[in-house]
Subunit: 463 residues, 2 copies
C-alpha cells in the first residue's frame, strides 16, 4: 500500500494533515475555515463540483442551468495554497494507523479527518423504485427529472395526435417535505405558465400535481400555521395533497396507496434520505438513518481526531435532532475548522475543553418556496416571525442569491430569475440525454414514459 | 396505418400541408418563412431543441452552458399559429401517397415536404472509433467532450499523487477543419489560462494539443494566406499541427498514423461528416457522402413537392459545392419558404419558372476562431477582405451573438463571454455524467481515461 504524503507545501513533516471527505456545504466550509492555517488540507470528493442543493429543484424544473448552481471545488479552493483537491472516493479506513484507502489505490494519511459525505435517497429498502421515481440530490438527478417532466408533455402531445386522447398528465410527488413542496409548485407553474402556449393538441394547464405524504401534514418540520399556509398556497396553484398516504408500490405509470391505484405519468421521490454509508463503514455508532452519533465537538466516540459534519452527523440539541439541511451543515463545517485550529495551536492531545464549549446550531430559520411567487418562512433571526406568500418568497430569493458561492453564479442566477419571473421567459427547457420516445408502457390504460437509459441511482453517495 | 391529418387550424381540407423534417438552421428558417402563410406546417425533430452549432465547441470546452446555445423548437415557433411541433422521427416514406411513417406510429400526409435532417460524423467505416474519439454535433456530444477533457486533468493529478508521474497530457484532434481548429485553440487556452491555477501536482500548462490533418493544410476551405495565419496563430498557442497525417487506428490512449504511435489522453474527432440517411432512404440520387443531388429549386429529381435543405443537399454553384455550414443552410431554408409561398399562391403544379430563378448561395464569408483572442475571417460581404488575429476575433464575436436565436441566449452568451474573456472567469467546468475514475487503461505505459458510460454515437441523426 503506497502511502501518499499529500499536500506538502512547506515545513515538510511538521505540519498536521487534515483530510476532508465530501465537498458539500459542511466540507467546503471546513476547508475554507482551514485555508489560512499552517496545515496541509486535502479535500476529497468523487465529483469535481460543489452543488448548491437548495436550488437543485430549479434545475430540475428548467429554470436554472446546472452551471448556475454548481462550482468546481478546485475553483472554490483555488486561492488556498495549503489545500489540495482530489477527485476520488474513500473505500476503506484504518483508524488506528489514521489512513484512508482511496478508490484510485492511493492511501491518504491524516492527523485530523473531517467526514462530510452527506446523505442520499432512501427508498426504504425498495431500491427498485429508484429508477421509476428519481429523487433529487445531484445535478444528474436534476437533469433526469427535467427530462422526464418535459418528455411527459411531448409524449402526451404525440399520443393525442395518434389516438385523439392521452392519459391524464398527473405528476405524483412522493413526500411532502420542502423538496416535495418545491417540486410540486414548480411543476404546476411550468405547466400553467410556460408550457400552455407551446402545444397545439394537449392543454398543459390541465396537468395535475399530487403530493403523497405519509405523515398527517406536509412540511412536518414547520409550525402548524405555516403548514396550513403552505397547503393553501399549493391549493391555489391547483396542487393536490394527500396526507397519511403510504405508498405501497411504484410502477411505470402509477403508484399504489394501499389498494388504491393512482395514475402518474411521472413519479418523483422526495420522501426519505439515508446517510452516506461511510459512518457504518468506519464502525461508528449510527442512528436508524445511518447518521453517526457524535459528542458536542462532533467527534464520534473515542476519536477526538475525527469530525463528522453535515447530514452525516446525528446532533441533538434541546431535545431535537438538528435537521439535515444547508445551514447546520455550514455551521458544523465552520465549527470544525475552528476546533482544529484550537487543537493544533495547542498541539495534538489537548482536548480543548475550556476553549470550545461545543457545537451549537444557530437557527436563522427555514424557508420553502411554493411556485413562482409564494413561500413559507419560519424566521428565527434577526427576529422571530412566520411569513408566507410574496414577502416570504422575496426573502427566499435574496437569501439564496446571497448564499450562492461565486459571484458569477450569483449574477447568473439573479439574471435568470429576473428573466424567468419578471418576463415569463422560457428558462432552459432542454431535454438532453435519452430522447427515446417509443417507450410508452400501456398498462391498464395508462401510458408512461419509460426511460431508455435511466439514471443509475443505485449506490449512495459516499464522498 | 392511421393517417393523421395534422395541424388543422382552420379551413379544414383546403390548406396545403407542409411537413418539415429537422429543426436545424435550414428547417427552422423554412418554418419561420412559412409562419404567416395560409398553410399548415408541421415541424418534426427527434430532439426538443434547436442547437446553435457554431458555438457547440464552446460548450464542449466549458465556456458556455448547453442552455446558452440551444432553444426549445416549440419556443422558437410558438407564435406561429399555423405551425405545430412534433418530437418524433421519420422512419419510412411513401412518396407516391405523400406520406411519412413516424417512429411513434403516426403517419403524416404532406403536400410539400422539406427534408433538412443534416449530417453526422463519419468515421469512414470505422464506427468502433466513435466511442474512443467523439465528434461534436449535439449538446450531448459537447458535454461528453467536456467530461473527457476535464477528467484527463483530474486523472493526471491523481496519478501524479500515486506514482509521481503521469502520461503526457496530449490531446489529439483528428481533423483540421474549423471545428478541429476551434477545439484545439480552446483546449490550449483552458489548459494554460484556466486550469493552471487549479492543480497542485501537475502543470496543466504543459498540456499539448496536436491536430492531425490528412490533407496538405488545415482549414482546406480557406485561402492560403489565412491557412498560414491560422497555423501561425495556433503555433503561438503551442498547438502542433501535422498535415498529411492519415490516422490508421484509434485506440484507448493513443492513435496510429501509419506505423507511428501517438499518445493521446483524449482523442477528438473533427474529420469527416456524412449526410443523414434519409436521402438514401427516400431513394434519391446521392453523392459519396449521402447528400441528395438537387436541382436549382432544391428539388430531387422528379419531385417538385420535395425540398432538400442544408447539409443534406448537394448544391453546385460556380463549379464548387456549397459548403455544409450554417449560412447556406439558413439561406436554403429561406429560399424554400419563398418557393412554397409562390407555388401555393399559384396552385400546385405551376413550376414557378420566371418567378424563381433558383437558389443561389450568397456567401458573406467564413470565420474560425483560434483561442481566446484570435481568429481568421474570409469576408465576402459587405466588402472582400482577409482578416486574422484580434479584429477577426471581434468580428466573430459580434456576428455570432447577432445570429443566436433568442434574446435570452444572446444576452446570456454575451455575459458569459464578458466574464470569461475579460475577467478570466471560470466558465462552467462541471463534469457531469459518469465520473468513473477507476478506468485507467495502461497500455504500453500510457494511461487514458476510459468512459464508463460512453455516449452512443452510433446511429446517424435522421431528423
Amino acid at each position: 500500500m503506497a502511502v501518499v504524503r499529500h499536500g506538502r507545501t512547506g515545513n515538510e513533516g511538521f505540519r498536521k494533515r487534515v483530510v476532508i471527505l465530501g465537498g458539500g456545504f459542511a466540507g467546503i466550509h471546513a476547508a475554507m475555515g482551514l485555508g489560512k492555517l499552517p496545515l496541509d488540507v486535502t479535500m476529497v470528493d468523487r465529483k469535481n463540483h460543489h452543488t448548491f442543493q437548495p436550488l437543485l429543484y430549479q434545475v430540475a424544473l428548467a429554470v436554472l442551468s446546472p452551471a448556475d448552481i454548481a462550482q468546481p471545488i478546485r475553483s472554490i479552493l483555488r486561492n488556498q495554497p495549503n489545500t489540495e483537491v482530489l477527485m476520488d472516493e474513500a473505500m476503506e479506513f484504518n483508524l488506528d494507523r489514521r489512513e484512508i484507502q482511496l478508490k484510485s489505490g492511493a492511501v491518504l494519511e491524516y492527523d485530523y479527518l473531517v467526514v462530510a459525505t452527506g446523505s442520499t435517497h432512501s427508498y426504504f429498502g425498495k431500491n427498485e423504485w429508484s429508477k421509476l421515481a428519481p429523487g433529487l440530490k445531484t445535478l444528474e438527478d436534476a437533469t433526469e427529472i427535467r427530462r422526464r417532466v418535459l418528455l411527459a408533455f411531448e409524449l402526451a402531445e404525440r399520443q393525442m395526435l395518434e389516438t385523439g386522447s392521452h392519459p391524464p398528465l398527473q405528476f405524483v410527488i412522493i413526500g411532502g417535505g420542502p423538496t416535495g413542496v418545491e417540486l410540486a409548485g414548480a411543476i404546476s407553474d411550468i405547466a400553467k405558465l410556460y408550457m400552455a402556449k407551446d402545444f397545439r393538441h394537449i392543454n398543459p394547464s390541465e396537468a395535475q400535481v399530487l403530493i403523497l405524504e405519509g405523515s398527517p401534514s406536509i412540511l412536518a418540520a414547520y409550525p402548524p400555521d405555516l403548514q396550513k399556509k403552505a397547503a393553501e398556497q399549493l391549493a391555489g396553484l391547483g396542487v393536490k395533497i394527500r396526507t397519511g398516504a403510504h405508498v405501497s408500490d411504484v410502477q411505470p405509470g402509477y403508484v399504489m396507496v394501499g389498494e388504491e391505484r393512482i395514475d402518474a405519468v411521472v413519479t418523483l421521490w422526495a420522501a426519505g434520505v439515508q446517510a452516506s454509508p461511510l459512518g457504518k463503514l468506519m464502525g461508528f455508532e449510527t442512528d436508524r438513518k445511518g447518521c453517526v452519533m457524535v459528542d458536542k465537538h462532533l467527534n464520534p466516540e473515542g476519536h477526538p481526531e475525527i469530525f463528522i459534519c453535515g447530514d452525516l452527523a446525528h446532533v441533538e440539541q434541546d431535545g431535537k435532532q438538528v435537521p439535515g439541511v444547508a445551514q447546520p451543515a455550514m455551521q458544523m463545517g465552520d465549527f470544525v475548522a475552528k476546533r482544529i485550529a484550537r487543537l493544533t495551536a495547542k498541539g495534538l492531545g489537548t482536548d480543548g475543553s475550556g476553549i470550545d464549549r461545543g457545537f451549537r446550531y444557530f437557527d436563522k430559520g427555514d424557508m420553502a418556496t411554493i411556485g413562482r411567487k409564494a413561500a413559507v418562512a419560519k424566521i428565527e433571526w434577526p427576529f422571530k416571525a412566520h411569513w408566507s406568500g410574496f414577502p416570504a418568497w422575496m426573502t427566499w430569493l435574496v437569501v439564496h442569491i446571497f448564499f450562492l458561492i461565486g459571484f458569477r453564479n450569483r449574477f447568473s442566477v439573479f439574471r435568470q430569475w429576473a428573466f424567468t419571473y419578471l418576463f415569463f421567459n422560457d428558462g432552459v427547457r432542454l431535454i438532453t440525454g435519452s430522447q427515446e420516445l417509443s417507450g410508452w408502457v400501456t398498462k391498464e390504460g395508462v401510458a408512461a414514459p419509460v426511460t431508455a437509459a435511466p439514471l443509475d441511482l443505485g449506490s449512495p453517495k459516499s464522498n
